[in-house]
Amino acid sequence: MDHPLDGTVVKKDFPLLGDLRPDGSPLVYLDSASSAQKPQSVLDAMDDLYCTSYANVHRGVYRLGVEATDRYEGARRTVARFIGAPHEREVIFTKNVTEAMNLVARTWGAANLGAGDVVVLSDMEHHANIVPWLMLAESVGIELRWIGLTDDYQLDLSNLDQLVDGAKLVSVTAMSNVLGSITDVRTIADAAHSAGALCMVDAAQWVPHLPTDVVAMDCDFLGFTGHKVLGPTGIGVLWARSEILDAMPAFLGGGEMIRDVRKDGWTVNELPWKFEAGTPPIAEAVGLAAGIEYLETLGMDRVRAHEVDLTAYALDTLTARFGDTLTIHGPSDLSARGGVLSLALDEVHPHDISQVLDQHGVCVRAGHHCAKPLMRELGVGATARASLYVYNDRSDVDALADALAATVEFFTL
């Protein structure tokens, strides 16, 4: 199992990633930080559910309903195992990580935060971990503090104790979707706990790329999104310690989340269903579990090693070919970064870069990547972001470099 992972081989499991598009044009997919492509096994698992075992869950006495429920709850078990959750009932299925963060802000936040209470965020958060807190700042007057950045694009933890002093919650990303910077979550969680605060982790960019262990991280809440972990859209996960979830008020009201309803009141269901109102994304949960199982077969340590290797190759290749004319916004230390390369050329705007790259079949995302406060800190309006995953290989990086060279040539003629 210790031989390195070969992206060229992995790619063959992903139907969309054949060398050519249906119209004959080439495809080099470098936008997995935005959303990952799906292996055949995920498509098969969802298909199989619909073709053989589909019914609503937690409702039917009939066998079909029981089978569907087993698969749905089996998916929860797979997620719990994958992130090292001590209890299955701590795994809540949501629509995406955005909903997971909003769930915490709306329920735990509403019950525990009032005027002047402090929530600590960082300068490299995705809007999903900013706006829910800004909403609480507007509605109840919570105060936000921000962990800044070092010169090498890491979180600056030098004044962490001061920042978390008196805070109720520290909520940070485990890996930046713009810079690739990996956060020292354990240090932040420890500081939060010493200050009497809880710690939430936006693991949207972490869970797909590194082994996850919520106990080792010692966080209190962790969210991630299914479509970046090879799963389908429409499903995300919130994990939290059960005593916290038990004490939190319910989120949405409706079927599934209740134990009893009378004309004058209702009582809440137990975990995890307390937070899963209405018919859940059943096939999506099954697809997510299949994506996770695919990653488990590859081995998350090998996934990480592959990405470090490919990132090193990308940084070397791009630096060798473009030198100072190409800025890569992100840490230079490979052990402190993932395979996210935020690129800026001296002469060409990121939007134009991605347009020319598309002409070469190279998919990268241009824009602010839903992290406008970070872009303001960096002093740029946009970057062109190439991101690497299990199915990428050196030829993808070479194609990126070639297309970038063509871009420079086109715009400096």
């Binding site: 939007h351 002409q359 309006g381």
Partner: protein, 160 residues
């Protein structure tokens, strides 16, 4: 697949590299209006000076891609000295070329008189942006400055 030369016409690249009317105007008498393209973070700031119903001066600040910035530059050259009505007509004609004008959504209701009037408007350099329509995600880049200008005119009139 449409080629890059459909999008990046020489005149567009020229306006991108040498933007016209770049800078700011003192506020007041000018009005400052910001426009954002939430998709990509492009930002156009229009400084507009209206005197007696005419655009007496305009300056463009902000940052963005070649399409948004060149479109803003071309627009600034095109509208200087025009009356508000003329600007409105030019804006309609330009957005019509980008084929996102309301009349195209309203379909058959658009009255044919207005249509034939539109066709007579000289777009000049702005014609170079016609190819943008073949790249639908970039249409918003091209129309950003025009929407911001419309907003600037509205703000100025509301204030006076």
């Amino acid at each position: 697949m449409p080629g890059l030369e459909d999008l990046y016409r020489e005149i567009i690249l020229d306006h991108y590299r040498n933007p016209r009317n770049r800078g700011e105007l003192p506020v007041p008498p000018a009005h400052r209006t910001e426009g954002f393209n939430p998709l990509c973070g492009d930002e156009v700031v229009v400084f507009l000076e209206l005197t007696d119903g005419k655009v007496t001066d305009v300056r463009i600040a902000g940052q963005g891609c070649s399409i948004s910035q060149s479109s803003a530059s071309m627009m600034s050259s095109a509208v200087k000295g025009l009356s508000i009505e003329e600007v409105a007509r030019l804006t309609r004609a330009f957005k019509d070329m980008m084929s996102i004008h309301e009349s195209s959504l309203e379909g058959a209701d658009a009255d044919s008189e207005a249509e034939s009037e539109l066709e007579e408007i000289e777009l000049g350099d702005l014609e170079a942006l016609r190819g943008v329509v073949k790249f639908p995600v970039r249409i918003k880049c091209a129309t950003l400055s025009w929407n911001t200008l419309s907003q600037a005119i509205e703000d100025t009139l509301a204030d006076s």
